[in-house]
């Protein structure tokens, strides 16, 4: 039984929640540090939203403890918890203007009128909506509404802000803008943010730490770099970023590395820190770590495989090459879209190479 960190803003200790036969949250333990931006990342049904709702108080866990700044809050209704939530569809009160929306929590706490006015104005400045007090939600764009929702929650100075996929309803460009905005606001106010999303790019770009969840459990908790570059489980590897995965069979194990030979001089070298590989294993490597060589180019790298270009996908900054190898295997390689990349066409024979430490072996 893990001991919760007494300094944590939020602590979840072995929390379980079932809906009928479905185990939505199946033993989650998590500490969220003060001022941290933590993201719960995972596909639908992984339990991230349920976990958040339990922190907010809209669901009660079947087992386990939830602490806010050291206080046990299981059984405490949402209106008496010191956390506030931002909803995916904003949930602004349509019959009130922006000012009344933002001031709602303050009014309930009987904050005097002048102070209310001041704090609302302050908060609107923070979210860059000065002067919008008298507008109505129906007159605002999606991004503006989201900022009002943010202001409404933050003006109460909660111990933590819970954001439930808040940018899901926005278009891509706006979403990226808002991501930066959110990050800025969080830094400015130093409020603890707990963010829920299924978009791994979003999670990577905004978070201090990410908890990758699947089927009610946290598969990995770490910084974005850790999660991306050293995924702990196949699921994480597959979910976060595009990942190549090839079944690995060790032909030779030598000092700290394992080698799989594929014929024609092709070989895959992967790090094996404990010197042993078990039976079935998968080697993973990120597409941007793979170099694409045309036949006339020199090849440098620990691993090298040759194949035929199946598909070329132009992504703007990057060009994505889907390469078919011998034996039905496929690899995706990313290359900056330079002139060289443009000259590689479908059907061309290429050689892919990468360094040993850019790959990882993941047990099944």
């Amino acid at each position: 039984m893990s001991v919760p960190n007494p300094d944590a803003a939020i602590s979840l200790v072995d929390v379980h929640k079932r809906f009928g036969d479905v185990r939505a949250v199946d033993g989650v333990t998590l500490d969220v540090a003060e001022g941290e931006f933590l993201t719960l990342l995972g596909p639908s049904g992984c339990g991230k939203t349920t976990t958040m709702r339990m922190i907010a108080g809209f669901e009660e866990p079947d087992a386990g403890r939830i602490l806010l700044r050291g206080h046990d809050v299981v059984g405490v209704p949402p209106n008496r918890r010191e956390v506030n939530m931002c909803f995916q569809h904003y949930a602004l009160f349509p019959h009130m203007n922006v000012e009344d929306n933002v001031a709602y929590g303050l009014k309930l706490r009987k904050v005097p009128k002048e102070e209310r006015r001041r704090r609302v104005a302050e908060m609107l400045e923070v979210v860059r909506l000065e002067g919008f007090e008298k507008r109505r939600p129906g007159q605002l764009s999606g991004g503006q509404q989201q900022r009002v929702a943010l202001a409404r929650a933050l003006v109460n100075r909660p111990a933590a802000l819970l954001l439930d996929e808040p940018l899901g309803a926005l278009d891509v460009k706006l979403r990226k803008q808002m991501q930066l905005e959110l990050k800025r606001i969080q830094h400015e106010l130093r409020t603890t943010f707990v963010y829920v999303t299924h978009d791994q790019e979003e999670a990577l770009s905004m978070s201090d730490r990410i908890a990758v969840m699947n089927r009610g459990v946290i598969e990995q908790l770490g910084t974005p770099r850790e999660v991306y570059e050293r995924p702990a489980t196949p699921f994480v590897a597959d979910f976060v970023g595009v990942l190549n995965a090839i079944e690995f069979r060790a032909d030779e194990v030598r000092a700290g590395e394992a080698v799989m030979r594929l014929g024609d001089g092709d070989r895959i070298v992967a790090p094996a820190p404990d010197g042993r590989i078990g039976g079935a294993a998968i080697v993973t490597v990120r597409p941007e770590r793979i170099r694409v060589h045309t036949p006339d180019e020199p090849v440098v790298g620990d691993s090298r495989v040759s194949g035929t270009v199946g598909q070329v996908v132009y992504l703007g900054t990057l060009t994505q090459f889907h390469v078919e190898l011998a034996g039905g295997r496929r690899l995706i390689a990313h290359r900056l879209s330079d002139e060289r990349a443009a000259s590689i066409l479908e059907g061309d024979r290429v050689v892919l190479s990468w360094d040993r430490d850019d790959a990882a072996i993941v047990r099944d």
Binding site: N79, V83, N84, A91, Y104, L108
Partner: protein, 301 residues
């Protein structure tokens, strides 16, 4: 290039849009015609009778406003109009007050069973109106449930009566409210059901108790439904005459009864038509006002 020239030379075809419009008009003609013939025309005819444009019997006045003058001069009949207005206001208010908790429970508490329960509430409409009204005799009448109960318990003597329970204006109010509550629950239910649940959670999250959430969020947002329900009851009830006939007793005579009496018993078509047109006029004005109110709200939002 040659193709464009060829098109210019031939005669311009009937634009598909115009053809579609004609088709739409044709489709609308039938229901509009039906409405015109069976609604507008009779109303216009009643209006014609009220000013003597049409006359039925030899002693009717031709082209005269006398029926209208008689109506406005008659304290009794104008008084009956106000009596009916009072009836409508009270019945509408009571119905709404009773229906609101029902609609609320259905929309926000009942969960998966809400549509089944809705059906249960609407089920009485499958039975005859007359039966449902007369069933009240069993409850409120002499030898009815209430009187018998009070006699058994001793509050009333063995022959005791409460005359105002049945065959009285009180009975009219009770029966009408009872009949209208399920109708009224419907628009309120629809409004509440359509409300974004997230709003309620947001309110809780920000620190409100359930009661405060109801007062500050649910109630204000349900006002359009409530107003619609109120008007929905108010307008037909002003002209109500069947229920007063059945349970109203000697003092249960309302404006609708006066109209019915004038036209069906009294041979006084012109007077009755004037009263009927007055009712139609009042209702029209109310509908227009109500419609404006709704539009104003929509703009404000």
């Amino acid at each position: 290039m040659t193709t464009t020239a060829r098109v210019e030379l031939s005669a311009p075809p009937v634009a598909p849009r115009a053809r579609r419009r004609r088709g739409l008009l044709g489709l609308l003609a039938a229901p509009t015609g039906f409405l015109a013939l069976f609604f507008l025309v009779p109303v216009l005819m009643v209006a014609a009778y009220s000013v003597g444009l049409l006359t039925l019997l030899p002693h009717d006045l031709y082209l005269s406003l006398q029926p209208w003058r008689d109506f406005f001069a008659s304290e009794t009949h104008v008084g009956l109009f106000w009596k009916s207005v009072r009836l409508s206001v009270v019945v509408s208010a009571v119905s709404v007050l009773l229906a609101y908790p029902i609609a609320y429970a259905l929309a926000l508490v009942a969960g998966r069973r809400k549509y089944t329960l809705l059906l249960v509430i609407l089920a009485p409409f499958l039975t005859s109106y007359l039966l449902r009204v007369l069933a009240w005799r069993v409850i409120l009448g002499d030898e009815g449930l209430i009187i018998t109960l009070l006699r058994d318990v001793g509050v009333l003597g063995p022959e005791g009566q409460i005359s105002w329970l049945f065959y009285s204006p009180f009975a009219v109010y009770v029966v009408l409210a009872y009949v209208w509550v399920p109708f009224v629950a419907l628009p309120i239910f629809v409004t509440l059901d359509g409300m974004d649940r997230d709003l309620l959670e947001a309110s809780h999250d920000l620190g409100a108790t359930r009661w405060t959430t109801f007062l500050r969020v649910t109630l204000p947002l349900s006002v359009p439904g409530v107003v619609a329900a109120f008007v929905f009851v108010f307008i037909p009830t002003i002209g109500e005459y069947v229920t007063p006939l059945l349970v109203g007793g000697p003092n249960g005579f309302f404006f609708g009864n006066a109209i019915q009496g004038a036209i069906l018993q009294g041979f006084d078509w012109q007077f009755g038509a004037a009263m009927a047109m007055f009712l139609v006029g009042t209702v029209t004005v109310l509908l227009v006002l109500f419609g404006r109110y709704l539009n104003v709200r929509a703009v404000a939002e």
